[in-house]
Amino acid sequence: MSPGNGESRAAQQRALWSAAKDALAAGDHPAAMRKLATSITPQDGFQAQARVAKLFALLPLASLGLRPIKMAILANSTVDHFADVLRFWLATAGLEAEIYIAPFDTTTQTVLDQSSELYQFKPELVWLFSTCRDVPLDFAAGSNPEVMRTKIDAAIARTITLWQPLLDRLNCIVIQNNADIPAHDRFGNMAGAAAWGTRTALRLYNAELAFAATASKPHSNVVVFDLDHLASEFGKARWIDSRYWFHSKHAFSFDAVGFVAHAAAQLIAAAKGLSKKCLVIDLDNTIWGGVIGDDGLHSADGIRLGADAGADGEAFVAFQEYIRQLKARGVILAVCSKNDLENAQEPFIKHPDMRLRLDDIAVFIANWKSKPDNLREIAATLNIGLDAMVFVDDNPAEREMVRQQLPEVAVPEMPDDPALFIQALAAGRHFEAVTLSADDLERARYYRENAERQVQRNAFLNSNGNNGDDSSNNLAAFLDSLEMIGEVHKIDDANNINLPRAAQLINKSNQFHLTGTRYTEAELRALVSNQEYLVYCFKLRDRFGDNGLISVVILKQSDSALHVDTWVMSCRVLGRTMEEFIFKVLSAAAFDRHCKIITGHYIPSAKNKLVSNLYKRLGFDAVSMASTLGNDSLQSTRWQRAVTTQTSTDQSLHPLQPLQSSHPSLNLVTHVRTTTASDL
């Protein structure tokens, strides 16, 4: 909802809340959640946040299909009201949170005492909600810089001593606040100008904290929450309401509660692999001023872009530059415009002030179909969920249509002045991340290449009549035309260069993930050293490009059985017979280890239906069904398959040979070849 004018906005909010209540009464919980989400922005004051949190608490969360997360908040200030609001914002980010709040002002004891309730609760995320009050750095005028540095180091040491026990005992993600530098200091300007000033010291502390978190092992598990930056964004002058510090130890203003909760929710969602992946942009009046089809490129009244076109022409360039930078850090870009394709692409090719070029765009759709239809098409082409997309359009009617028809897509409210577009898009914090791997930076390229493959695939599939055989032949011909090369790498103590990316893939995968297991980098490191376990990662390249590391399999050998503990694969290589390739490698590994059977589990989650039939497809037999704890509707299944001599290493390295199996009708063909006989 756009922050509009006072009275009418308040009335709109009340109407949405009563609509949410009606939907709740009617049992339509997703609709109730949508009404609540529409009714509020992070900037809204505490009354509205509390109201929404209260209505949200009435919703049976199981009906919303959210991913559960157990988290703890440890604070030396009061966070109870905040936690209620946080729960709501986490839900908008896709998470159903169970939150444990440690007793007020017991952070250190709670962490150090192994018998504390924290460890019984077993959270997967612990938020050390500290503030500047927990970092007592204060120096007399003219203090010696050496003394000051020693004290800053000591303050850092105090903060980080709490990380290791949490990481060791809980194998959790730790979120650590930095210090929200106070607005007032007795030295005034000097507090930030003098080497010994308190603001100087706290700035050093905050910088050192970022270094310490990055240096911690495994570093991806400690994330600094930049509270100081949030306080600045919100406005330091109103960040703290001292009355409620003195009265009840609330460390920041109630009116900042929604703002902080939203920022935290987006970061936590990112840590759980739920951040957005793709930005879909409209063209006319979104990335340039005017309508290309009407105004044209060069005439005096052509589209407005660049300094020659006036102030808003510069604003559009700045917005494009921001989008280009998002792409450079791994966000996939797509275009969805109501235009003729040729008109729409012309500025990308010819306009000198365009910052975005055609090869920045993974999928470019310009036609006259509805935007929701085109967004579905983009999601299908990129093989990502609609819930991984953000849609930016200057036209309120288009935004509304997408919100109504595709509620999973994030649709930021755009102001009518292009100078404010960056701010409006950034305010949603859709693209938060806790780490960036080399792969993230390459991601946009992978997806663009994938979209090119998709185009080729469609060309192959449509090249012959409608005969069923033809289409499967065409598919095979398409797959062969990709000239795919698979690589297998065993990860062990000696070869662990792929380990961080492997850990990241395990923790980010939701759809192609048979068991939902999560391993931190440290745990994975321990597993590869363990004789009982085998960890493989797989890479795939083809004539369109390199997909990088796209699958990880963790195997556990016990006597004559090889058990698939974890199998994740990136959805960007689905439908390429990579699963069959991987299975052949697993079979060969089993054969080489004299195993008689391969076993595996499928543990259903809200998102992994995609692989419910994977084992069946690969010729496994279901051996038992076990009810998953607490949810009778989700059946966990156990599968096994005999290892036969035909699945030996030799055979597997000729992957185009059909694989013999106990199911004679099975014809496991992979179109992925391998060039090197890896050491299995």
Partner: protein, 87 residues
Amino acid sequence: MANANATETSIRHQMNVIFQSVFDDPSIQIFDAMSAKDVEEWDSLSHITLVLAIEESFGIRLKTAEVGGLLNVGQLIALVAARTGRS
């Protein structure tokens, strides 16, 4: 005098709406001696929500001492009346 009664009545009415909303109970009817022991949900946390709602609704700011010092509805109404100049 009649005028003062009228404003007191309007404050009381507005206050009742706030109570119903904060405690999410449309059946609440406030009275002067009403205090935390009369409303099940009125604890130290919801007290702050209540105070914030009153501040926002009447456009006033309570002093630090007043935030925790207000023990019943009568005191709240008197304070709002004094602060809004409606008494």
